[in-house]
Symmetry: C2
Subunit: 318 residues, 2 copies
């Protein structure tokens, strides 16, 4: 029996993911315009930028200007991502929303490659984040487990390994008297398939029945929305998605797809009677704007095909 949620919380990852992967220079004003348009759709959280080394990710060199330039809409969170304490410290000097998250990678090799830290060092870093969150009054809600479904360096990631990571994040939070609200499983490099989604969510649910579960899915191998559907069937109600399918996978190679596409996912949910709180027609317009700003055809399908509601309306059919 399916256990579909009544509504889902969709976090928009497009600006950050898109800017991160794009090699051509983008105008700061266009980045801001894109973020502001997304905020008009009903999306409540937008990952706008990441505070990383601009030598490694030149597109993020103007992250501070982007954040300062946004005409903020009340009720919307404009998030910035950070991968180390230096990034967090930079974020704290800016008018950016900071998610009080703790993160670990299920693949230690991936962690070393991506952040230079092994598991123990990563956990130490999370402890430092938690202290900062506490000082600043930033609420801590979710733990993130990257490469939950597989890793290009270590291959398969076992269910036991994911369970162990949840336990470690729970422990690190517990040390500071914090009870996590839930866990996001991230398919960082596109290894997930529907049965793996079921296995891993099942294992986390069994041990932590009160945890909310989120999915951060990539469409690297085309099965992203099938994975999302498998998650929805199990009642997962939190998803990270990317407008027009912006983004990519620096670990898989040129042209590989990024996060699942927000419009296509919102379309699927709404057609299934699962509410998203997002205006799909406006979102499709954002997808079109993304193609204009990023100068390329993006993988999202609704940008070209349109929604069915829009179709029904314009053609006067049932």
């Amino acid at each position: 029996m399916a256990d579909f949620p009544e509504s889902v919380f969709v976090r928009e990852e497009g600006p950050r993911e898109g800017i991160q992967i794009e090699t051509r220079p983008l105008k700061t004003e266009n980045k801001i315009r894109f973020i502001e348009s997304l905020a008009e759709t009903g999306v409540e959280e937008i990952h706008c930028v990441s505070f990383v080394n601009p030598k490694k990710v030149p597109g993020m060199a103007d992250a501070a200007e982007v954040i300062r330039g946004i005409d903020r809409r009340p009720g919307v969170k404009y998030l910035g991502l950070f991968l180390n304490m230096k990034g967090l410290e930079r974020a704290l000097t800016l008018p950016v929303d900071i998610e009080g998250a703790i993160r670990v990678s299920a693949s230690e090799s991936f962690s070393r490659r991506n952040t230079g830290m092994n598991l123990e060092e990563t956990l130490e870093e999370q402890r430092r984040y938690l202290s900062v969150y506490k000082q600043r009054g930033i609420p801590v809600e979710f733990g993130y487990i990257m490469t939950s479904f597989g890793c290009n360096l270590e291959g398969e990631i076992s269910t036991e390994q994911v369970v162990l990571m949840v336990r470690l994040l729970e422990k690190v939070a517990g040390e500071q008297g914090i009870r996590l609200r839930g866990i996001y499983l991230a398919d960082t490099v596109g290894w997930a398939t529907p049965p793996e989604i079921e296995r891993k969510i099942g294992a986390v649910r069994e041990r932590w029945p009160d945890f909310e579960i989120g999915l951060h899915l990539h469409d690297t191998r085309g099965v992203g929305l099938a994975n999302a559907y498998a998650g929805l069937r199990l009642g997962v109600a939190r998803f990270d998605t990317s407008c027009a399918g912006l983004g990519g996978c620096p670990f898989t190679g040129a042209g590989a797809a990024g996060n699942i596409c927000t419009e296509d996912f919102v379309f699927m949910c709404e057609e299934m009677g699962i509410s998203t709180g997002i205006d799909l027609e406006r979102l499709i317009e954002c997808g079109r704007l993304a193609e204009e700003i990023f100068f390329r055809t993006l993988p999202g399908k609704l940008v070209r095909a349109g929604s069915l509601k829009g179709f029904r309306r314009s053609h006067d059919v049932a």
Copy 2:
């Protein structure tokens, strides 16, 4: 509870779908090369061409040469599609495999637009096909219901309408003493969503429990593989797919996606433990060849990302 099949039968639609939608001229020898490569992957049926008016579909003008030029591999069917008696008669003069199929559209408006025939005329045409099949000893196995999930002219298609169409095809076959083996539901213009897949398959199953059910899915709105997964859960074991996602939707507009991508679908099945009989690595090579021949980036994801088996092997990971 899911009722996954142990194996699925995959029919390749790429050559026909791709040639049909492509506006630039393609070399006959390249069409043949593509079909021959597909036949090396383990695919047992390939829709190669359609016998339609070359004034309307210029890419099919050399359909006869393509069919005559193929170096046929034993055990593989090289199919040609026809939409009227003239097409069938042309096919009968050529060394092409003819599927003894009968077809009807659940949307009469679509039928009129696509073939110029209303429902009654369509059924009459099917009776004539059946007579020809009988004369020629062509086995009749499946009935096809186009626009089973919705239509750009009539909008939603009700479950009752699909059930009625199955009944009519069953009756037309029965008149000539033929018992159909099963029914393909075709999402001809990309309206299907997972709950509609469940509803319509459920309704056909309930009334015809012995019928094999097939799905012809388009990825027009990005949910094609989620729809396929919903079908697999219900035990559907026959799918039409298109190499690299070749094709499009002449009814939806420029750039709209075509059939679900064969590689991505085969990948999903094999990772789920559902056997396809297809060599995925060879199939990915066919997808790369398709991009070369059709001069464009195609929607299939595995062409860029590769399979996980291939990855595991080349990186020596579990």
